[in-house]
Symmetry: C2
Subunit: 335 residues, 2 copies
């Protein structure tokens, strides 16, 4: 790769003139500028960012740490954030980490590269190392929240989401409702489960008939297994509500495979709003989250704080509200 010195030699000027010409410094004559640019173009010169960073230039890299990019939910976040970064001169570095070790490694690498900042959807039980690293580096938490990270958080009102979905089922007259959710090691899993329970309390319905199933984060096989088990019970639940998108997908697939239909055999409220949920069977009643908006808000807030050198560790938190979209998969239970 050509360096500024090579350009300088070929153009018959000094290195500093090259730097100034390319930076469009007013002190350089138009004639010199155009010649330098000419030569730079010929040589395919592209400024060396690492060298610039050593001179104090900040990196344009924003690290994004996600558990799973194949999940439409996270893909939407990546897209929104990428757009946000891109239009502000930044570049997204995507790290996919499902476990604390990989997470620690990627965080270290991003910090080593002196990225401008990190947007992270944390894993369930992060290593202390990760925490110490992040707490001394500009970052923001998205969706999931780890209390020991001293940083801002942008998430959705998980508890209300599930409370509303569950109330919809209770209002229809269901009592034996199953909740299949994500790991309680995650802030999201915990809050969603709390919302499920709160619905019963607030509606004054006995919780004894409720069923709760939890699984590891970013896996969904347990969801399919669980739903089959539930349907094989002597008294199967009359309704089902899910707590993660992956579980929703797994369940839709297994129910279709087994010929179980909603709402006749069981009513279903699905967590998440993938486009295909519209046309599953009679249309899936879903909990829809303004995820694109959340990601953009988070991105703008973060970039603004980075650029104005404001601290990002000020425990700011922003809650987005989800809404229930009622389709054909929920109906009153058969008497």
């Amino acid at each position: 790769m050509a360096t500024a010195r090579e350009v300088a030699e070929k153009a018959g000027v000094s290195v500093s003139t090259v730097g100034r010409a390319l930076a469009d410094d007013p002190r350089i004559s138009a004639k010199t500028k155009s010649r330098v640019r000419e030569v730079a173009g010929q040589l395919g010169y592209v400024g060396n960012l690492p060298a610039r960073q050593m001179r104090g230039a900040k990196s344009n890299l924003i690290g994004l740490m996600l558990p799973d990019i194949r999940n439409y939910f996270y893909a939407t976040i990546a897209e929104a954030l990428s757009e946000c970064c891109s239009s502000n001169g930044y570049q997204l570095a995507l790290s996919i980490a499902n476990d604390p070790e990989t997470e620690a490694r990627h965080v270290t690498e991003l910090i080593s590269a002196r990225a401008a900042g990190i947007v992270i959807v944390p894993t369930a039980n992060p290593k202390r190392e990760t925490r110490d690293l992040l707490n001394n580096f500009p970052h923001v938490q998205l969706l999931r929240r780890v209390n020991s990270y001293k940083s801002a958080w942008f998430g959705i009102n998980d508890e209300d989401c599930l409370c509303e979905g569950t109330k919809h089922l209770l209002n229809l007259g269901h009592q034996r409702i199953a909740y299949i959710g994500g790991s309680r090691d995650l802030s999201t899993g915990n809050a969603r489960r709390a919302g499920f329970r709160r619905a019963f309390t607030e509606m004054g319905v006995d919780f004894d008939n409720a069923i709760e199933v939890f699984g590891p984060p970013s896996s969904a096989q347990y969801g399919a297994t669980a739903v089959i088990d539930l349907l094989n019970r002597p008294e199967p639940p009359t309704a089902l509500i899910t707590g993660t998108i992956r579980v929703t997908q797994a369940i839709l697939e297994i129910l279709h495979q087994r010929g179980v239909s909603a709402p006749e055999d069981i009513s279903i409220v699905g967590f998440g709003d993938n486009p295909e949920f519209k046309w599953w069977g009679p249309g899936l009643t879903t909990i829809c989250m303004p995820i694109e908006d959340l990601a953009t808000t988070c991105g703008l807030w973060f970039l603004h704080h980075i650029e104005s050198e404001k601290p990002t560790n000020l425990l700011h938190s922003s809650l987005a509200n989800a809404s229930l979209t009622i389709r054909g998969s929920t109906a009153p239970p058969l008497k």
Copy 2:
């Protein structure tokens, strides 16, 4: 951020001793090593990659340029490549670029950052600038192919894909078949269309009854519009085959919305193998691509070539074969 010099001062040694201790150089005594590590830990020291790069260290950044991360197809590529990079000590920088300008900007930035290399799914009509840049930088093309890029290419056998899908319809007895595909400015769009045509030739069926509709890349609205138009014709096609995943999705949604059912009203072969295609209506007959495998193969090949400093501009090309999965959405036409 703490520097090696600060660590050196606090540990009472020289900068080079710090560097060597942290690199586990055998010449440094165990005692010194542990003290240096101790101090480094206290100060939260993380080596400065930009500075190392100036000393010849190579970046661990692999740029991935995609048109659309929300497309499950591309998300799968990102996931596979991320995994591949991650397990080889690299890090993925994701750039989403749909148009030549954004593409040029991102390529410049990646090169400026002196990334280790770029994996690119090129846009339809890239700028000359992008071409000149890439041709002097390690890169590899994925899926789409631009002839003026002097580089290896990993893709699928698009022509055979569509030929096979079309033949399936012809074999069932369809003649009035519509093809709704992607832009012919793309190598993929072109090849798929050629496959559609070849099927008629090879089966000896008159092409006059066939219908072809093309649209811009990474948009799908035209697909939904086109399918409605087609169905409103006095003699609507009896079968439909799509040429992009986005179009497939758009069509499934609009058909569901309008109450058009397959295969009664029309037979459908969908391009792509999203999980939800299994349970659209009677199950969608699809063209499945070994995309994960393709991405991993591409990643391994590329990383290997980068590491062994082999040139990546050797016009290597690798074709993966797709297969047809027959489900309920295709049947013989009603007489």
